[in-house]
Symmetry: C2
Subunit: 366 residues, 2 copies
């Protein structure tokens, strides 16, 4: 180990929270026939956003506006808040990292669900926080258990994704509102709404933007189809939003992405169309799963989690055989969620491949 | 202040190290006629890189390869090192932040030059490091003083930019090699080579890539003309390079930028052309300065630092009047360097505007 690392850094593993599909392709020596593992949007971004990004490439010699002024104005209008309530950053991943940096130090307790988003855990551990994990209740994160554990441990952060990844489940907005009403004073709710744009009506809670104990996270990676652009944003009361200026990489936004996000936000018609296509793709993946004797869980996201009906070893075998046949999918990392595989939604061409491959993979998994 | 911040975060100011030109434009209510303040490359990226980025926009629904495999392979070939020596990140700014995170904790001493790159200081302070600053010797950073102070204080990091920003000066590679040979055991040299691609022959030191006490930082923002893309890289021994995997945002790279950087690197002919145009522009800016009774300092970069011949207040007045006339420039932040203004190099159209405006600005500054 290099002598210059802090004692804490020295303890951290050099890990990638997820292996990228490109790395798998290099290992296999072939490209995937269908890329259904990273909850990317195969429906892509709005044509208007694509056009805006292509035009913006000509100006990539310029740094982006470090204040993301126009994008913050537009997001504020979109959400009925002020620009001072908005933090723009490099995807939700980047914002979670900054939030952990602002709030955590060695040993500070943080509560999340056992099997929930690993990148959040990566950042918590990376900043020395003490991770506490409560089990899911079936396919759902358990607000009451999160609250109870937070109260018992004095947790500073409570992470909850609604809709949830990797299970695709959701709580109603009313459930989240009730959770917010019962937050212990010492806890900030980190409400990851990455999939909010694809969720059924009634999923999004009403929370006053000045609420001192909630930060909401949104992204252009899912519904807006711009995962490779790295644009996410947080909504929080101005006091907390402004704190990100203490630590963020001010000139770190990609200019093309910043301009593309603005155009994507303006094309709500495209988003509505994606929502329709996502619903249709959910139905088709559910039918494919059922045709193979598997149970598709209800999805509020752009992926469908499929219960393979046995244990983690079996689901891992199904996943392995599916991947080996050129279909990139992922699965929850820990029991008991790891009885499932997770299939991102795609266009018909990709789902045709899935339909062809899944029976073979299940047969091979035995 | 929000109650959830760490005690250290609570002490940090919510600052932008530099005000962006867009913010200035909003304040002034007009756009700049010439954008010569951020050391961006008005010559832009290679047409091949632009074409690659436009094509890559179509695939922006996909996350980038978290390992930046192809780019690391290409950079390794370019520099005659292995891919394990390369870290790809969101510009040098982003990499400096990660490096500070890996190496600094409360009170760890770090040495830099008084007036050198503020974003490095921002990160050092942000991670609790104790900044020690040694004066420039004239227009040059002072390797001996940096070493002496590092030795006296037990500094963990020594920051040196070669060529230097904001003065545009450079040391020969031999000077840097000598500095490396005399590093105290406890110090890691952070060698910021952002402007290396534009420096005169003989500027780049020969340092063994496995040297345990040096990390070199390079960027696609300057010579390659892709500041808005946010692609930088570090060269360090594999042990240190791999440590970045402990803390980096693995899926944080913009896919379009990653692909664009690969294409830019492949077009060394374009870079050579930019180098020629930069040299010509240096000469022209020097002539413009001299025609106005100012002294242009020799430049090894894509900007020319111009000594306004009096004190900081005078240079600030010249800057203010230049900016007010629609030419965005910047200047060093601290005395005695702040007797200068800093003019990024541009194409003929931009320098025509500079030539028109500078005499008016000097007259107005009085």
């Amino acid at each position: 180990m290099t002598r210059f690392l802090t004692p804490h850094a020295a303890t951290l593993p050099s890990v990638v929270p997820f292996t990228g599909p490109e790395a798998l392709e290099r290992q296999m020596g072939q490209t995937f026939r269908a890329r259904l593992g990273a909850n990317e949007s195969l429906f892509g971004p709005s044509p208007a956003a694509i056009a805006a990004m292509k035009e913006a490439v000509e100006g990539v010699w310029m740094y982006a506006d470090p204040e993301s002024h126009e994008l913050k104005q537009a997001l504020a209008r979109h959400h009925g808040v002020t620009p001072q309530h908005i933090v723009v950053g490099g995807g939700i991943d980047g914002l979670l990292g900054l939030l952990c940096r602002l709030t955590l130090e060695q040993g500070v307790p943080v509560v999340t669900s056992l099997g929930a988003y690993p990148t959040f855990n990566f950042h918590v551990t990376g900043f020395g926080g003490q991770l506490l994990r409560v089990p899911y209740r079936g396919a759902h994160e358990d607000p009451q258990a999160l609250l109870d554990t937070a109260r018992q441990t004095g947790a500073r952060l409570i992470y909850l994704a609604n809709p949830d990844n990797p299970m695709g489940s959701h709580h109603t907005g009313a459930v989240i509102e009730d959770m917010v009403a019962h937050l212990p004073d010492h806890s900030l709710l980190v409400l990851d709404e990455a999939y909010a744009d694809l969720a059924p009506e009634g999923t999004i809670p009403t929370i006053h933007p000045d609420h001192p104990q909630v930060i909401r996270l949104r992204t252009f990676s899912k519904g807006y189809g711009m995962a490779g652009a790295r644009v996410g944003y947080a909504i929080a009361r101005p006091e907390l939003a402004q704190a990100f200026d203490k630590v963020r990489d001010h000139f770190g936004m990609n200019r093309v992405a910043q301009i593309g996000a603005l155009a994507a936000l303006a094309d709500q018609g495209w988003l509505a169309d994606v929502q329709r296509r996502v619903r249709a793709a959910r139905d088709r993946v559910s039918r494919i799963a059922e045709a193979n004797g598997l149970r598709a869980l209800p999805s509020a996201t752009n992926f469908v989690t499929v219960d393979c009906g046995r244990d983690g070893d079996h689901a891992r075998a199904v996943l392995r055989e599916t991947v080996a046949r050129g279909v990139f999918i992922r699965m929850p990392g820990v029991a008991p969620l790891d009885r499932c595989i997770r299939i991102s939604l795609g266009d018909d061409a990709a789902l045709d491949v899935l339909e062809e491959v899944l029976p073979q993979a299940i047969a091979a998994a035995g």
